[in-house]
């Protein structure tokens, strides 16, 4: 069963088109990352599928349309943009409202608060919380009652490095339990570490979507198919090294960063040994040569530039 099917959704704000005919399918049990720079339409897309926003055109359905929208949302945990709670109520009282709306057992509130380390402050009013605590409470609300689907929009916003690591671990744990997670983020590293599927948005248009390996091994700018790899090479003067490597057959691009040169080439076209031999033959002794598989960041920049 597909958890979410989005069909040709468009959202316009006057003359501005925030989303243009976006279609995607989220299968059950995957961690689905929605990537895009700020203003690409990630939150708008999630806002539409959670009924916070109305689409200008197109449609969406959860669980193959088996349940009406609001009933389907009761089976989901959602953190969209900022945490929204009643400031005069405590964490526990706020979660009681969430549990009541979703028809969940309030007994699960304690476990949800414990999972985000807010048990000690559960009776303090929400307005007294720090930004990180508010974010953690929103995550607790999203995880309340073991939802089948968890939708997280920039879940690590406002968290310190320890909190970010905790959320990553939490996402992995929840995904490990077989639940579906839809995660919107502009932090590529975050998505790459936890997601099995990815959709890349830019200015409201969907550039790529699907299994993360499939997206990464898509066609490159040169039209060649197959995976693209990068190598980090250092030795001697970086400018001389970059110029020499630029002449090497198979090298698609070179860039100098710090004291090293990064080259990209089609996978299988150029082996690290060949690069090493080429440099040695051109009187350059390498101090470092690291081959890397193409990562999401490279693909993302390639698609969105």
């Amino acid at each position: 069963m597909d958890v979410l099917t989005v069909e040709r959704i468009t959202k316009r704000y006057g003359a501005v088109t925030a989303l243009e005919e976006v279609s995607l399918v989220v299968p059950e049990g995957v961690v689905y990352g929605i990537l895009g720079p700020n203003g690409s339409g990630k939150t708008t897309l999630l806002g539409i599928v959670t009924d916070a926003l109305k689409p200008s055109a197109g449609s969406y359905r959860f669980f193959d349309g088996a349940r009406p929208g609001h009933e389907a949302r009761k089976e989901m945990g959602v953190l969209l943009e900022t945490p929204n709670f009643y400031p005069y109520l405590s964490a526990r009282e706020n979660l009681t409202i969430v549990a009541r709306i979703k028809g969940r057992d309030p007994a699960g509130i304690r476990e949800a608060l414990r999972a985000v380390n807010l048990l000690e402050r559960q009776h303090a009013p929400f307005k007294t919380y720090s930004l990180g605590m508010k974010q953690r409470l929103a995550i607790a609300a999203a995880l309340l009652g073991d939802p089948r689907v968890v939708i997280l929009d920039e879940p690590t916003n406002g968290l310190d490095p320890e909190g970010i690591a905790e959320i990553r671990e939490l996402v992995r744990r929840v995904a490990g339990e077989g639940r579906t997670i839809i995660l919107a983020s502009h932090l590529l590293d975050e998505v790459e570490k936890v997601c099995s599927h990815v959709a890349i948005l830019k200015r409201g248009r969907l550039l790529a979507a699907g299994d993360i390996r499939g997206v990464l091994s898509g066609a490159g700018d040169d039209g060649a198919t197959g995976e693209i790899v990068t190598m980090e090479v250092a030795g001697g003067d970086p400018a001389t090294l970059a110029a020499a490597l630029g002449r090497l057959d198979g090298v698609l691009s070179t860039s100098v960063e710090g004291g090293a040169v990064t080259i990209s080439c089609a996978a299988g076209r150029l082996a690290p040994g060949e690069v090493n031999r080429y440099c040695f033959e051109n009187d350059i002794v390498l101090e470092r040569l690291v081959a890397r598989e193409k990562n999401l960041e490279v693909k993302f920049l390639e698609l969105t530039k």
Binding site: G47, T50, D51, A52, L53, K54, P68, G69, H70, E71, R73, K74, V78, L80, T82, N84, F85, Y86, P87, Y88, L89, E93, T96, I97, V98, R100, I101, K102, G103, A141
Partner: protein, 252 residues
């Protein structure tokens, strides 16, 4: 319904401003009626206003109607705070349908109207019982008219809050409409077979004739109570439909 009422109660039970404003309204209505009763007993209103039965129903309903703007402020501030904190949006994201959200608020509108009416009934009893005449329900329909009037005012206030979303602006616009715009419209439209008296607030006001204290021009009531009642009910229905329509169509 019980599900939605329970959710509203969970939100309101610790909302201090809601309870303080509601208590202020109850105190003001009680105080205004007791003050008027005092003036009627041995003051300038002696012989003009009669708090004994059966006129107690009409007099208490009429005096209380001047303060109906207070529960309107309560609903505007509560509805707008849901927008400011974006909790209305979160409620929908968490699983309320948009229709359920509006229904929950309309339950609050009904609750405030019922509370106001109950207060009027209790005060009519409290002020009428010491009078010379025995308890009579002859004019009890005025408490019903007051309920209709309260529902009309509070529904319209909720609609304004839903559209405007900012409490200060919503309160200003509501008061401007209630005390200026509708009075002007009523005066103008009264030249056309008194249709001005069928306007949203005017129709329910005229049910409790002789009209509001703040009405600029009180021209008497030209329509029968059933006609005014029908107009009020139609306006209330239109107001509620507008609330549903607006909330179902807008981005949250």
């Amino acid at each position: 319904m019980l599900y939605l009422a329970n959710i509203e109660f969970l939100k309101l039970r610790r909302d201090r401003s809601f309870w303080i404003l509601t208590a202020l309204f109850a105190s003001s209505v009680t105080g205004a009626n007791y003050m008027a009763a005092g003036l009627a007993a041995n003051g300038p209103l002696a012989g003009v206003v009669d708090f004994s039965f059966p006129s107690a129903w009409k007099v208490v309903s009429f005096i209380s109607s001047f303060l109906l703007v207070m529960p309107c402020l309560v609903i505007i501030m509560h509805a707008c705070s849901e927008h400011v904190y974006r909790t209305h949006r979160q409620n929908v994201i968490d699983g309320l349908s948009r229709g359920q959200y509006v229904t929950a608020k309309l339950l609050l509108v009904a609750g405030l109207s019922l509370f106001s009416t109950l207060l009027v009934v209790v005060l009519a009893f409290a002020l009428g019982l010491p009078g010379e005449r025995p308890v009579s329900f002859a004019g009890f329909e005025h408490a019903g008219y007051f309920f209709v009037q309260a529902t009309m005012y509070i529904s319209l206030a909720f609609l304004v809050a839903l559209v405007v979303k900012k409490s200060a602006l919503a309160i200003g616009l509501f008061c401007f409409y209630a005390f200026v715009i509708e009075n002007m419209l009523e005066k103008y439209l009264d030249k056309l077979h008194h249709v001005g008296q069928l306007l949203p607030l005017a129709s329910s006001d005229h049910l409790l004739a002789p009209g509001r204290l703040m009405r600029i021009a009180d021209m008497g009531t030209a329509w029968s109570p059933p006609a005014l009642l029908l107009a009020s009910v139609v306006w209330i229905g239109a107001c509620l439909l507008a609330c549903y329509y607006k909330y179902k169509k807008q981005d949250l």
